[in-house]
């Protein structure tokens, strides 16, 4: 349902490229230094490659499996030049993203309902502000649901984003039942004919069963008011997150059925490599990448660009 937010355009791809520039330069520096000497595939060589992948947060298992394939090919003499190795690594990574099934292109009847979930501090509210901005630019009407009634000033923060992006907002008092906010928001969206409803939720650790149950309730409420809602459940993942990111994705998916990821804070030096493991295991598409604090610092994720940028 990427179509919900429009197709990536060329300038956005450029920005995505820029956002992973640091990732790329780090990795390609390492891979490049491996390639420069024209060395043969020796154990030391693979050890350095392993270190590069581990440093990008790909994790022990994913790294090992990717390297096993490379090693296998090398043993069969299929990889005897640096170019071939680079192509092989790219192919390996790309195949992980391309194994994803294309999402159906059909548009549900408005309002389309998007839940934004994740652990504390990943950038959910900021991402919602950017999403709203993006949709408004496309001429859609957006209604924000301030269902993070727990964190201090979360409602005020979302209100500021609503003003900035000229979106509508439905809020209740702090401490209110988030499911009741969802109810109000969807009722209002139906009455007003809003195109998209984006539901902000409180950050929660995936280990807290009561809070996960709260999300399930919100989802049920949404489904009762609008058939098929929520149409998207986006898990917001911080690019600095390490191996726990995989556990987060697993748990949120098990409880809620996450439909896509947003990878935030990719403008720093963190690699966000854990998404490779997530995509491999759970088959979740990465919808967007967050690259800064401004409203337009959100670009659609494009696997081709991402993988190629890693080695450019």
């Amino acid at each position: 349902m990427l179509s919900l937010f429009g197709k990536p355009d060329a300038s956005l791809l450029e920005r995505l490229k820029e956002s992973v520039r640091r990732t790329r330069s780090e990795l390609s520096e390492r891979v490049g230094s491996l390639l420069a000497g024209g060395r043969k595939l020796d154990p030391q060589w693979l050890a350095e490659l392993e270190k590069a992948l581990l440093s990008a947060d790909l994790g022990v298992r994913t790294t090992r499996e990717i390297l096993d394939r490379v090693r296998e090919k090398a043993d069969r003499q299929a990889l005897n030049s640096p170019e071939q190795l680079k192509a092989e690594l790219q192919a390996q990574l790309l195949s992980i993203f391309e194994a994803l099934e294309a999402s159906p292109d059909g548009q549900p009847q408005p309002p389309q309902v998007v839940f934004v979930v994740g652990v504390n501090g990943t950038g959910k509210t900021t991402t919602i502000g950017k999403l709203a901005h993006r949709l408004r630019q496309q001429g859609r009407t957006v209604l924000l649901a301030a269902a993070d009634t727990f964190r201090a000033a979360a409602i005020e923060q979302l209100e500021i984003w609503a003003q900035r992006t000229q979106a509508e907002i439905i809020r209740q008092k702090p401490g209110a039942d988030p499911a009741a906010v969802v109810f109000d928001a969807l009722t209002a969206a139906r009455a007003r004919g809003s195109d998209v409803v984006i539901v902000d939720t409180a950050g929660r650790l995936h280990t807290k069963s009561n809070l996960m149950a709260e999300l399930e309730k919100m989802k049920r409420v949404a489904g009762r008011l609008v058939p098929g809602a929520p149409h998207e459940i986006l898990l917001v993942l911080d690019a600095t997150t390490g191996q726990n990111g995989l556990v987060q994705a697993r748990e949120f998916t098990a409880h809620l059925g996450v439909t896509g990821l947003v990878l935030t804070k990719l403008d720093g030096t963190a690699k966000g490599g854990i998404v490779v493991a997530i995509v491999r295991e759970l088959g979740l598409p990465i919808r967007f990448v967050g690259t800064g604090e401004q409203a337009d610092d959100l670009v659609p994720f494009d696997p081709q660009t991402f993988v190629h940028s890693l080695f450019d």
Binding site: A153, Q157, G268
Partner: protein, 447 residues
């Protein structure tokens, strides 16, 4: 998903006991597994490799002791090395002349504002008069957030209305602190990337102006390999005096603690363990090491148990168990003590995933609601019924079910469990019955 390191090592070292010295060959397998455990826990790969080299050196050629199995011996070396890296528990710093300034810095979303509330609360409880102030003029509603956090945490906040410059706000807060006789000013700052030159300069300026007694780096326990870069850059620009590790109430291993410790040398002073403003604890290096290695935070568990369990009652229970006088009333006491230890899911998380406890599902859920219902059922019994459960016939069961708002089936189930428990206690004999019982009780309530 993680296999406890100790179990992996046990396999590697099978049949090694009593074979003289630990050889290089034996160690190679062990070190590979330790490396994997460290990497799975998000310890930076360079840091892990440096550590492994040292561990290998120390372990090689050591006598295989009779009293420790080789795996225990290696684990001990690993623990000692990691603990040494984290240093001693450190006390927070105060200026010789108040007010002391504590500057809270870190990446976006690491938990600075929540931590400001928790630290202020902690200071208040320890006889200080803290004042919190936010210099985050960038993120929408960030200053409002601290105002609300302070209100919820019951601490004073300087709102700095009308001021828009971080430096001006901080200066005004210092004046306010002197006027109001506050002795610690907690300065919350905007989250920023370590590569954002302009914002890092702003922090350096704040430091020059405020001469803080503490510059605390607030770090998310879930952070991965990049922790070394962000922490070392913050340290290079500011000279960190301490670290607060947040969100440790989740299931992240917190290996970043080692990475950050290694590159900054700054001690971890506090850890955040929950959403409540009291959920801030002093940091003990040995405990986080156990967590990183997957050995569970047994010490914390023991401490919590000690806090909650009334020693006199425990002795009384022991006596009753010996005499086979364990009544439903005692059972209810046990439940209450169990609940006093805190949210049960948190306790389950503290248990090491080894031995018999490895069978606990990783996401074992303890149903607090069920505990409450069990207690309600026992509350609805008469004292005579609690003393002698055989009195409880069908009519009494219906009455108890009605009185407790439960069903006869639930009452039956409880009575069955209780009878089973008594039977087991008799079987186990006398020695150590209480501890076995405690384990049994917890086991029954999970899964």
């Amino acid at each position: 998903m993680f296999e406890a390191l100790t179990e992996k090592l046990q396999r590697t070292f099978k049949n090694l006991r009593g074979q003289g010295k630990l050889s290089e060959e034996h160690l190679r397998g062990a070190l590979a597994q330790i490396r994997e455990a460290l990497l799975e826990a998000d310890v930076n790969v360079e840091v892990a490799d440096t550590l492994l080299a040292r561990i290998g050196e120390k372990a090689l050629g050591q006598e295989v002791l009779l009293q420790l199995s080789p795996d225990q011996q290696v684990v001990k070396i690993v623990r000692d090395e990691l603990t040494a890296l984290l240093g001693q528990p450190a006390r927070p710093n105060f200026a010789s002349r108040p007010p002391s300034v504590w500057l809270l810095v870190g990446l976006q979303g690491s938990g600075k504002t929540t931590t400001a509330g928790k630290l202020a609360r902690w200071l208040g409880r320890n006889g200080h008069r803290p004042l919190v102030v936010s210099t985050d003029v960038y993120r929408p509603a960030a200053r409002e957030q601290l105002v609300q956090v302070a209100r919820a945490a019951g601490v004073r906040c300087f709102a700095a209305e009308g001021l828009q410059q971080p430096l001006e706000i901080a200066r005004a807060a210092l004046r306010e602190a002197r006027l109001s006789a506050s002795d610690v000013v907690l300065v919350d700052t905007a989250g920023r990337l370590h590569i954002d030159d302009a914002l890092m300069d702003e922090l350096a300026q704040l430091k020059r102006e405020l001469q803080p007694a503490e510059i605390l780096f607030i770090a998310d326990a879930m952070i991965g390999q990049d922790a070394v870069r962000s922490a070392s850059e913050f340290h290079r620009r500011l000279g960190l005096t301490g670290v607060v590790l947040t969100k440790l109430d989740g299931d992240a291993r917190g290996g970043a603690a080692l990475s950050i410790g290694k590159v900054t040398g700054a001690p971890i002073k506090f850890i955040g363990v929950g959403e409540k403003y009291d959920a801030l604890e002093p940091f003990y290096p040995d405990r986080i090491v156990s967590r990183i290695l997957g050995m569970g935070d047994v010490l914390t568990l023991i401490e919590k148990a000690e806090q909650a369990v009334d020693q006199k009652k425990a002795a009384e229970l022991e006596r009753k168990l010996r005499r086979d006088e364990f009544t439903l009333e005692d059972f209810r006491d046990q439940l209450r003590q169990l609940r006093k230890m805190g949210p049960l899911e948190q306790l389950v998380g503290l248990l090491p995933k080894v031995g018999p406890l490895a069978q606990l599902p990783r996401d074992a859920q303890v149903d607090e609601q069920r505990l409450k219902r069990v207690e309600a059922i026992i509350n609805s019994m008469t004292p005579e019924e609690r003393a002698d459960h055989t009195l409880i016939d069908g009519r009494r069961r219906r009455r108890i079910a009605r009185g407790s708002g439960t069903s006869v089936q639930e009452v039956n189930q409880l009575l069955r469990q209780y009878a089973e428990m008594r039977r087991l206690i008799r079987q186990m004999g006398k020695a150590g019955a209480a501890s076995k019982l405690r384990r049994l009780g917890l086991g029954k309530l999970t899964g």
